[in-house]
C-alpha cells in the first residue's frame, strides 16, 4: 500500500505475528495506557498484549467509555490516546467516543478489530464497515489488508493524529492478518506527499498583526481549545500581559489564560459573562487564537459582523479561518510558534503597548453588572455554590471533568481554571455520559491528582457502568452529582421557549446513588443541606484513596445565566432575574 512511509532498514528485523506487531508498534510509540474491551476479532491482539508489559491495558465496561477515557487521557497529558475495540458492536459503540474526540480535535488512535479479510462484505458475524461508519467523524482512517502494512499504518496513524489540527484516527484490522507473520520493522519517520501541515506562520502576516494590535483602541483576545491543544498558553499569557489586553476563553479554551488573572473577563458565548460578550462584540481589533467562531460562541454571525472590527485569526487549520466570520488577517500555523514569533516582534517594537485605559474603564463597568451573581439559599443547595466550594476545597488545582447540560455550564462559569488541560469536557459534540470515563482518563494521566467529575443525574446514568472500572483500578475520583431531578438544560429551554411544557425532561425513578456507589465498594454521600456542602467536600477529598460519589440534591428550578438565546446576537444577553432587577434598582 505504501511507497511513502519510509521504512528504516533494520537488519535485526524480527519475524512476528500481526498481533505482536500491533503491540510492538504501541510500545514503539511509548504508549502507557490502552483503554479497551476484548472480543472475537481482537483475540489475537489481546493474547499478544497479555504477553508484554510495555503498556497497561485498562478494561472498561463499555467501548464508548474506552474511547472517552483515552480522549481524556490525551486532553490531560497532550499524548495520543489509544483505544482498542472489537469488530461490529464493539466498533459502533466506539463511534460516539470517536465523534466526540473529532469535534474537539483530540488526537486518538482507535484500533478496531475486523472480520477476516475473506469474510469482509459477506455480512459476517459482528461485521460492520468501520471505515465507512467512521468516515465523517475521523481525521483519517485505514483498513489494513496485509500484515506487512500494519506497522507503517500505525506509524502513520499516530503521526496524523497528533500533527496539524489533531484528531482521531481509526485503524481497522481484520482478524486473520493479526495471525499472519511478517518481519517487524517500525518506520522511523513518516513522509506523506498529501499531508504536510503548515506550522510556521507567515512572517509578513504576523508583523501586520502586531501593528494592528498596537494600533487598537478596544482590543480583545479570544482563545479556544486550539490554544490549549497547541500548548500555546504560556506564550499567550506573555503576549497578553505585555499588551495589557483583555482575554476571554471559549468553553474549550478555559485554562488557556489564568481565570484568576485581572485581565481575564470570563468565558464568552451562549452562557458567557456579560463583560466577555460585550467586549467581544464591541472591540475594534480582535485576536482569535485556536478558536472557530462557532454558533455557541458568537451567536448570530450576522449580528456579530454588524459591528465593525478587524479580526486577526491564528489557527493551524486553514478551513477554520473565514468559515463563519470573515477574517482580515489570517495566520495559518501552530499557535505556540506563531505566538512566540509575535512576542519576538513585539519586543522589537518601540512602543510595546497601546493606551487601553478608556477601554478598561468600559470593561470594568460591564464587570460591575456581576452577571454571575446568584442568590445563595440556606434551605436549598444552589448548584453554583457547590462548584464555588469545590474550587475552594481543591484550591483550584483539580482536574475537573463534566458531562453535558446545566452542570457543565456552572462548572465552566464558577470553577476558575488557572492552568490548561485541567478542564475536560465535550464542547463540540456535547456528549452526555463523558464525565465519568473522562475522570478515569485524567486519573490515569496523573494518579496523585485530585479529579472531580461534575455531573447531572441524567448524564451520569449514561455511563454509570464505569463505576465498576473505577473499583477495579482503585481510582479515587470524586463524583459531584448536581442532582436536580430534571434534565436541567432541557427543562430550562422548555421553560423559556415551550411555555413550561416539560416534555420528558423529568428524571423519575432515580437509583439510590449512595447505595449504588456502595454496592461497587465506593463511598456514597448524600448532601441536602447547604450548610453541609463545604464540609462534605472536604471530607470527600480527604479520602485520598477512595472513590466518593457525592449526591447533592440541588435547587430544581435554577437556570443558567446569562444566556444568549438561539439566533440572537452576542450582546443581546438575557440576564438572571436577580441581576436584572438589581440593575433596575440601581437606575
Amino acid at each position: 500500500m505504501d511507497a511513502s512511509a519510509h521504512s528504516a532498514t533494520d537488519t535485526h528485523a524480527k519475524s512476528m505475528t500481526g498481533a505482536d506487531i500491533v503491540v510492538s508498534c504501541l510500545n514503539e510509540e511509548k504508549v502507557k495506557f490502552v483503554f479497551g474491551y476484548p472480543g472475537g476479532a481482537v483475540l489475537h491482539i489481546y493474547d499478544a498484549l497479555y504477553k508484554q508489559n510495555g503498556f497497561k491495558h485498562i478494561l472498561v465496561r463499555h467501548e464508548q467509555a474506552a474511547v472517552h477515557a483515552a480522549d481524556a487521557y490525551s486532553r490531560a497529558t497532550g499524548d495520543v490516546g489509544v483505544a482498542l475495540v472489537t469488530s461490529g458492536p464493539g466498533a459502533t459503540n466506539a463511534v460516539t467516543g470517536i465523534a466526540t474526540a473529532y469535534m474537539d480535535s483530540i488526537p486518538l488512535v482507535v484500533i478496531s478489530g475486523q472480520v477476516p479479510v475473506p469474510a469482509i462484505g459477506m455480512d459476517a458475524f459482528q461485521e460492520v464497515d468501520m471505515v465507512g461508519a467512521t468516515r465523517p467523524c475521523v481525521k483519517h482512517n485505514f483498513l489494513v489488508k496485509h500484515v506487512k502494512d500494519i506497522a507503517p499504518t500505525i506509524k502513520k496513524a499516530f503521526y496524523i493524529a497528533k500533527t496539524g489540527r489533531p484528531g482521531p484516527v481509526v485503524v481497522d484490522i481484520p482478524k486473520d492478518i493479526t495471525a499472519h507473520v511478517a518481519d517487524f520493522i517500525y518506520p522511523k519517520t513518516v513522509e506523506m506527499r498529501s499531508y504536510n501541515p503548515i506550522l510556521k506562520g507567515h512572517s509578513g502576516q504576523i508583523k501586520k498583526a502586531v501593528k494592528l494590535l498596537l494600533a487598537a483602541k478596544r482590543p480583545m483576545i479570544y482563545t479556544g481549545g486550539g490554544l490549549v491543544l497547541g500548548n500555546g498558553a504560556a506564550e499567550l499569557v506573555k503576549l497578553a500581559r505585555a499588551l495589557n489586553f483583555p482575554v476571554t476563553n471559549t468553553l474549550m479554551g478555559l485554562g488557556g489564560y489564568p481565570a484568576t488573572d485581572r485581565q481575564f473577563v470570563g468565558m464568552l458565548g451562549m452562557h458567557g459573562t456579560y463583560e466577555a460578550n460585550m467586549s467581544m462584540q464591541h472591540c475594534d481589533v480582535l485576536l482569535a487564537v485556536g478558536a472557530r467562531f462557532d454558533d455557541r460562541v458568537i451567536g448570530n454571525p450576522k449580528h456579530f459582523s454588524s459591528q465593525k472590527r478587524t479580526i486577526i485569526h491564528i489557527d493551524v487549520d486553514p478551513s477554520s479561518i473565514s468559515k463563519r466570520v470573515k477574517v482580515d488577517v489570517p495566520i495559518v500555523g501552530d499557535v505556540q510558534s506563531v505566538l512566540s514569533d509575535m512576542n519576538e516582534i513585539l519586543a522589537q517594537e518601540e512602543n510595546q503597548t497601546t493606551d487601553t485605559a478608556d477601554w478598561w474603564t468600559q470593561i470594568n463597568e460591564w464587570r460591575g453588572v456581576q452577571s454571575l451573581d446568584y442568590a445563595y439559599s440556606d434551605t436549598v443547595i444552589k448548584p453554583q455554590y457547590v462548584v464555588q466550594k469545590l474550587w475552594e476545597v481543591t484550591k483550584g488545582e483539580a482536574y475537573v471533568t463534566s458531562d453535558v447540560g446545566q452542570h457543565q455550564m456552572w462548572a465552566a462559569q464558577y470553577y476558575k481554571f488557572d492552568k490548561p488541560r485541567r478542564w475536560i469536557n465535550s464542547g463540540g459534540l456535547g456528549t452526555m455520559g463523558v464525565g465519568l470515563p473522562y475522570a478515569m482518563g485524567c486519573q490515569f494521566a496523573d494518579k496523585n491528582a485530585q479529579v472531580a467529575c461534575i455531573t447531572g443525574e441524567g448524564s451520569i446514568q449514561m455511563n454509570i457502568q464505569e463505576l465498576s472500572t473505577c473499583a477495579q483500578y482503585g481510582l479515587p475520583i470524586k463524583v459531584i452529582l448536581l442532582n436536580n431531578r430534571y434534565l436541567g438544560m432541557v427543562r430550562q429551554w422548555q421553560e423559556f421557549f415551550y411555555e413550561n411544557r416539560y416534555s420528558e425532561s423529568y428524571m423519575d425513578s432515580l437509583p439510590d446513588f449512595v447505595k449504588l456507589a456502595e454496592s461497587y465498594g465506593h463511598v456514597g454521600m448524600q448532601i441536602t443541606n447547604p450548610a453541609d456542602v463545604e464540609g462534605a467536600l472536604k471530607e470527600a477529598f480527604d479520602k485520598k484513596d477512595k472513590f466518593v460519589f457525592m449526591n447533592f440534591l440541588t435547587d430544581q428550578t435554577e437556570n443558567v445565566f446569562p444566556m444568549v438565546e438561539n439566533g440572537k446576537g452576542l450582546s443581546e444577553m438575557v440576564l438572571s432575574p436577580r441581576t436584572a432587577s438589581r440593575l433596575k434598582g440601581e437606575e
Binding site: M1, A3, V131, G132, R135, P136, K139, H140, L143, I160, M192, R193, S194, Y195, D317, P318, S319, S322, K323
Partner: protein, 163 residues
C-alpha cells in the same frame, strides 16, 4: 457560480468516498464528478463541477485540501482552462428522424458509433453546454437514452496540476 475543481489524490480504496462524503456531509452541490487513475498509477485525478458563492467555494477547496489523501487541489476557474465531456445518445432513427439525426450529428461534430434497425447511437464530445445544446436541438421524443461522463477539465498552456 459554477466552478470546476481539479484534484489529485492517492489512488487508494475509499478515496472517492471521502470526497463524495465530504460534499454530502457539508451540503455542497455536485453537478458532476469524474475520477480515473493518472499516468502515475499511485495517483487519481478527479474533476468536480460544483456551484456556490465565493465563500462556499473557498470552503470547498479548504475542506478538500484537509482530506489526508488529497495531494493537490486546483480551482480551474482561477485561470484559463478547457473542459470536455463525452455523451452517448441513443436516438430513434426511423422515418423523418433518420436523416435529421445524421444531419444534427454532423453539425455538432458527433459520430454515429452504432447503427441498428431503428436507432443510432451518437458519440458527442464538448463542453457541457455544447452537449446541452445538442439535446435542446434534437427532437426530444426521438431520444431513447443518454449517458454523460461529467466534465473533465485541464488548465491551458503552462497551468499544470502535477505532484
Amino acid at each position: 457560480m459554477r466552478h470546476i475543481i481539479s484534484l489529485l489524490m492517492e489512488n487508494e480504496a475509499g478515496a472517492l468516498s471521502r470526497v463524495a462524503g465530504l460534499f454530502s456531509a457539508r451540503g455542497y452541490n455536485i453537478e458532476s464528478l469524474t475520477v480515473a487513475v493518472t499516468e502515475d498509477p499511485t495517483l487519481s485525478r478527479m474533476t468536480i463541477v460544483t456551484t456556490g458563492s465565493d465563500d462556499v467555494i473557498e470552503q470547498i477547496i479548504k475542506q478538500l485540501n484537509k482530506l489526508i489523501d488529497v495531494v493537490k487541489v486546483l480551482d480551474l476557474n482561477d485561470g484559463k482552462h478547457i473542459e470536455r465531456e463525452l455523451m452517448l445518445v441513443k436516438v430513434k432513427a426511423t422515418g423523418v428522424h433518420k436523416d435529421e439525426m445524421k444531419r444534427m450529428c454532423d453539425i455538432f461534430r458527433g459520430r454515429i458509433i452504432d447503427v441498428a434497425d431503428n436507432s443510432y447511437t451518437i458519440e458527442l464530445t464538448g463542453s457541457c453546454s455544447k452537449l446541452d445544446a445538442f439535446i435542446e436541438a434534437i427532437d426530444r421524443s426521438a431520444i431513447l437514452e443518454t449517458v454523460r461522463t461529467g466534465a473533465s477539465g485541464i488548465g491551458r498552456g503552462d497551468r499544470i496540476l502535477k505532484v
